[in-house]
């Protein structure tokens, strides 16, 4: 039973984190690529900054500090043991992985004739980005989604293993594997069963993602994260 609930948490974190990554990365990448100039310089530096942090270290640092304190951003407050904390962290650290390719693509797209045409028609910037640029990014973004979900689930497991992910008493596959490893010589099934679940889930998502990639774009080798 715990296995099912743990799975629900792991998958939920994977999906929420991916949603956060995709939305923020599309926004920053799109804005940086479209406006170029100083906006681009600032955003590109910020992305480089997140990129230069070792992912696991940044995740653990944020995870430990937020698990103790929770997030208080004025608009919304999360307590430290909320499931959304790891999701927000994971979503955040993966932003550059998606934002950089998006930015590159927008840089190329904004020079295309149909964007010029839209601009000459007097459409606003938001409208151009939303209805002219975004649809052309769709295939790139769709390819990234399964990849990011798989990576997010793996990173959640890693953070939970180090105690910086999902906080007890909430279960997740990561924390269950970590608990199992602690009891290792005596009770191997406590590691094997959640481990197998995790590997099968991630494997399924990866195979699915491979299929999507082949279907949409046979020529793009995409970098997997850690």
């Amino acid at each position: 039973m715990r296995l099912l609930y743990g799975g629900r948490n792991s998958l939920e974190i994977g999906f929420v984190a991916t949603a956060i990554t995709m939305i923020l990365a599309t926004l920053t990448g799109g804005v940086a690529g479209y406006f170029r100039g100083p906006v681009d310089s600032v955003l590109a530096r910020v992305l480089d900054l997140i990129w230069a942090f070792p992912v696991v270290l940044l995740g653990i640092a944020l995870g430990t500090s937020l698990a103790l304190g929770g997030i208080n951003l004025g608009l919304f407050t999360l307590s430290g043991n909320s499931l959304l904390v790891p999701a927000v962290i994971i979503g955040f650290v993966y932003i550059p992985y998606v934002a950089k390719p998006v930015r590159g693509q927008v840089l190329a797209l904004r020079e295309r004739e149909f964007v010029d045409a839209a601009r000459l028609q007097g459409l606003g910037t938001v409208r151009i980005l939303w209805s002219e640029v975004l649809p052309n990014l769709a295939s790139t973004l769709i390819v990234f989604v399964p990849l990011m979900i798989a990576n997010a689930i793996l990173l959640e497991a890693g953070l939970s293993y180090l105690g910086a992910g999902v906080q007890p008493p909430n279960p997740s596959w990561g924390t269950m594997i970590a608990d199992g490893i602690a009891l290792l010589p005596s009770a191997i099934h406590l590691t094997l069963v959640p481990g197998a679940m995790l590997v099968l889930a991630v494997l399924g998502i990866n195979v699915f993602g491979d299929g999507v990639r082949d279907a949409l774009d046979p020529h793009s080798p995409i970098r997997l994260g850690h």
Partner: protein, 315 residues
């Protein structure tokens, strides 16, 4: 080239300063993480806490604390809050284990990835290709700590073929060092072998459809010669770029999980312990050290790429 080096050096310094500030702020934002209270211990009076706060400078404004810490980092006098030992010494102690792990695993995953990728591409569509794809997928989908723990359980505990974790310095006993490093190397490289063989396979297949391959075939070269002399040389370039970045990430703390599972007492494990204890100075130094490696090796990678492929320009 000179311009490239100057530009990259400046941006490296800027990135490092920004990273140190961000790391400092992350830990400063922890509400119940008053370092003075923890330094004083559990049975302390408010007076001792206040005295410690004053001597360590915790009562100063945050930018003063930051400048003081950075001054200590560069003069080599950073002291950790919890154990009160010199951080740089601790890192120096952990560095051999981390480098052994990263270099060994890096070599393994580079060559194994290339080998499996070439084999899969040469047999594209056949049974070998499918089998290798399946293995690569499983490698990519398995968390490294799970793989490491299972290896330890079956190969070290059940079969006693390998030691149960730990690190033996290369200088004290090379044989034991190798014996202790094999499992961590394999566990860490599994993920990367999966990624690299997949990337190389698709690169080789893409290159195969280029014009110069058709020319080579028309000249009557054997398939083997075409594959190794013409196709592989072109397909390996992106792999070299990937390797530089991944290797940097592993040295800079990416091996934290592997080190913890196999109890290697490397830099990553030190970072994990310090983060758990909310000990800011070690984390700050390790994150800066890791980021420095990432930035430095990405610059080196760019230079190597430009050397391997004359079409790439350095900016």
């Amino acid at each position: 080239m000179a311009r490239f080096i100057v530009r990259r050096s400046i941006s490296t310094v800027v990135v490092l300063i920004a990273i140190s500030i961000v790391t400092f702020l992350i830990f400063e934002a922890i509400p119940n993480g008053d370092p003075a209270a923890r330094l004083a211990g559990r049975t302390s009076t408010p007076e001792t806490v206040a005295a410690i706060r004053h001597t360590w400078g915790f009562d100063k404004p945050i930018y003063d604390q930051y400048l003081l810490t950075m001054k200590n980092v560069f003069t080599g006098k950073v002291i950790s809050y919890t154990q009160q030992v010199n951080v740089l010494d601790q890192i120096k102690e952990g560095l051999p284990a981390t480098l052994s792990l990263a270099i060994g695993a890096g070599i393994i995953w580079l060559f194994a990835g290339i080998l499996l990728g070439v084999v899969a591409a040469a047999r594209a569509g056949g049974f070998t290709d499918r089998a290798l794809t399946a293995v690569a997928m499983i490698g990519v989908s398995t968390p490294v700590f799970l793989l490491g723990a299972l290896m330890l359980y079956f190969l070290a505990y059940k079969l006693s073929w390998f030691p149960n974790g730990g690190y033996v310095p290369l200088t004290s006993n090379p044989g034991e060092w190798l014996y202790h490093m094999i499992l961590p190397w394999l566990a860490l490289s599994a993920l990367f072998i999966g990624i690299y063989s997949r990337v190389l396979r698709s690169n080789v297949l893409d290159t195969m459809s280029e014009d110069f391959v058709r020319t080579a075939r028309a000249k009557g070269l054997t398939e083997r010669r075409i594959l190794f002399r013409h196709v592989l040389r072109n397909s390996v370039i992106p792999i070299a770029a990937l390797w530089g970045l991944d290797f940097a990430a592993v040295v800079g703390g990416g091996a934290i999980l592997t080190e913890s599972v196999f109890n290697l007492h490397g830099v990553g494990q030190y970072a994990a312990q310090s983060i758990g204890a909310l000990d800011v100075p070690p984390v700050l130094v390790i994150v800066m050290f890791g980021s420095f490696f990432v930035v430095l090796l990405s610059a080196v990678t760019d230079v190597v790429m430009a050397f391997l492929d004359p079409r790439i320009k350095l900016l």
